[in-house]
Amino acid sequence: KDSAGAPGQQAAGGVGGVGVDLPRADSDFWNAYSGYIPTKAKDLGLTLTATTNSTNDVQKLIGNVDNLTAQGAKALVIAPQDTGAIGPKLDELAGKGIPVISVDTRPDAGKFYMVVRADNRAYGTKACEFLGEKLGGKGKVIEFQGALSSINGRDRSEAFKECMTKKFPAITVFEEPTEWEGTKAQAALETRLSTDPDIKGVYMQAGGVFLDPTLQVLKQRGLLVPPSDPKHIFIVSNDGIAQEFDAIRKGEIDATVSQPADLYAEFGLYWAKQAMSGVTPKVGPTDHGSTVIEVPGGFEDQIPAPLVTKDNVDDPALWGNKK
């Protein structure tokens, strides 16, 4: 996996090595991302100085960044899950002339070269719109939030809530914090199904964590029925992993927002290479189907995050359908 990371290989091809920090090791999505990093680096002819993992701890992230630069990384691809705490480090790196590409999140402060992300708020909005339409603007919906202390979870929750209040005021939303734990989601679902048996929709903020647990409960309660059945509960997931696609094909869930792990890896590294070659990003559409905009602190490459339903689930371009 770290074949490109051996010491002494730096500065191959005229550009320096890229240091990559993975944000966490216990999620399907980030594991897929991590899997794409070495292959995409090879495709781009980039050298990886080293790959570290900050296990969802911003202090470790900052330590890892120091470690990577100490080891000679000339550009960094990171994914700060805490967008507040990374600012000063970014300014320091900018001062040292080391460009930073932030994948998945946009830092609240500090300078960076490029943000590569699909908007987490957009996930929440897309899920809301899908459920709102399917439910005809009324009924009850349960939402499995992530950890309240996670920025991505919070963005999804807020956007989902905002959209629901604005566009579908007649829909009741039960927000269930879960700490990203499947059992907590299950217990919440059972409780809600007891108190409010007329729940008609589920939004789960992470398919990797909540998919199987949710299906397990619904199966036991005999609620896993086709959309034509009035007992059907509409489920929107979030991530875009292969298991979700399978479930969509089987009709167990209705949709998911595909968060493009492959594109995150590819364009994170792509922009790292651009940065090391001294390219200044240009605002506007790119040649890879996304748009670069200017944001406080730098630029942002907005990667599309398609909603996957039964209609487009077999699209080979979706990363969940690859390999």
Binding site: A188, E190, D212, Q243
Partner: protein, 323 residues
């Protein structure tokens, strides 16, 4: 030696109070069989199993932090060998191996802990802490951050543990009830069981009385490993998957339940019945807080506060100092 001494019953009043309070909140739902079983107790089953394991270890005067990681790693290893994308050790193995492999793996960890604690005379706290870190890491390496998912209908034991009901109660609850009953009988009415208290209370006296202290400790650690592995399978069955962080963070609640239930960290004290009451109490507090519509971002604070208040009340009413 009597089945329930006064101390063991200390938690009965707060449990009744919570039941009454829950009933006033939602009279139509709360005291129903389906709510109590499916929304409250079922999700405490895994915790109860690990509390059982930890209670035994605490009674014998030791400490086992690694149990929470066994909850994750034992099913992960067993299921990985069956459905994983690997050919080591002749995998894929037949699906019936899941149960024995998980148990053997859990037991082996107990053996290894015992080796370091009993033979090398290392501190149980630090040995099992290092073991916890190691096993968590191993779990990540193995599951590779990607949940082993979609296990329903592929691994029979998972289906049984997850779906079978006997006399309307889920199998997992039966397992807990039976194992606690067995535990209570063994601890109260067999020489081996009583020797746990003797070893935990005064190992020198136990040794002088002819009890093989080291063997008893070692055996307890192995049994705890087995129980934790079974708990892990139960959790995987509930979720129909093995998450990369399965069990993580659970050990705090395990200790909380055991200690609230009257098990002493100093060894030689406490009863399994009390520990079980501790588990039920924690489960009820959480579910009542949910029913009471405490705001999601305040529920944790209220939870901690309620535990503190419960402790002080128990202290004031029982008049006994704790340790």
């Amino acid at each position: 030696m009597r089945l329930a001494k006064l101390r063991d019953l200390a938690l009965i009043p707060p449990i009744i109070a919570l039941l009454v309070y829950g009933y006033t909140l939602k009279p139509d739902i709360f005291l129903t069989h389906s709510y109590l079983v499916d929304s409250v107790l079922k999700y405490q089953a895994v915790l109860a199993m690990v509390v059982l394991a930890e209670a035994l270890v605490l009674i014998v005067g030791k400490f086992d932090l690694s149990l929470e990681s066994i909850v994750g790693i034992a099913p992960a290893v067993a299921i990985f060998l069956v459905v994983g994308n690997t050919s080591v050790l002749g995998a894929p193995w037949p699906t019936w191996t899941v149960l024995p492999v998980a148990l053997v793996f859990g037991g082996l960890i107990g053996v290894f802990n015992g080796l370091l604690i009993v033979r090398f005379k290392l501190s149980a706290f630090i040995v099992t802490l290092a073991m916890l870190i190691f096993l968590r890491g191993l779990q990540l390496t193995l599951v590779g951050g990607s949940t082993i998912s979609n296990l329903a209908k592929r691994v029979p034991v998972i289906d049984y543990l997850g779906n079978v009901r006997i006399l309307t109660l889920p199998l997992s609850i039966w397992i807990v009830v039976v194992l606690f009953a067995v535990g209570i009988v063994v601890l109260g009415y067999t020489r081996v069981g009583r020797s746990l208290y003797a070893v935990g209370g005064n190992p020198d006296a136990a040794r002088a009385a002819g009890i093989r202290v080291e063997r008893v400790i070692w055996m307890t650690l192995v049994v705890a490993g087995l129980l934790a592995a079974l708990a892990g399978l139960m959790m995987s069955a509930q979720l129909a998957s093995v998450a990369a962080n399965q069990g993580e963070g659970m050990i705090f609640m395990v200790f909380a339940a055991a200690v609230i239930g009257g098990i002493s960290l100093d060894g030689g004290k406490g009863s399994l019945f009390g520990a079980l009451c501790g588990v039920v109490l924690l489960g009820l507090i959480r579910s009542v807080l949910t029913l009471a519509q405490v705001a999601p971002d305040q529920i944790e604070a209220v939870y901690g506060l309620v535990i503190l208040v419960a402790l002080v009340l128990a202290r004031l009413t029982s008049g006994k100092a704790q340790d």
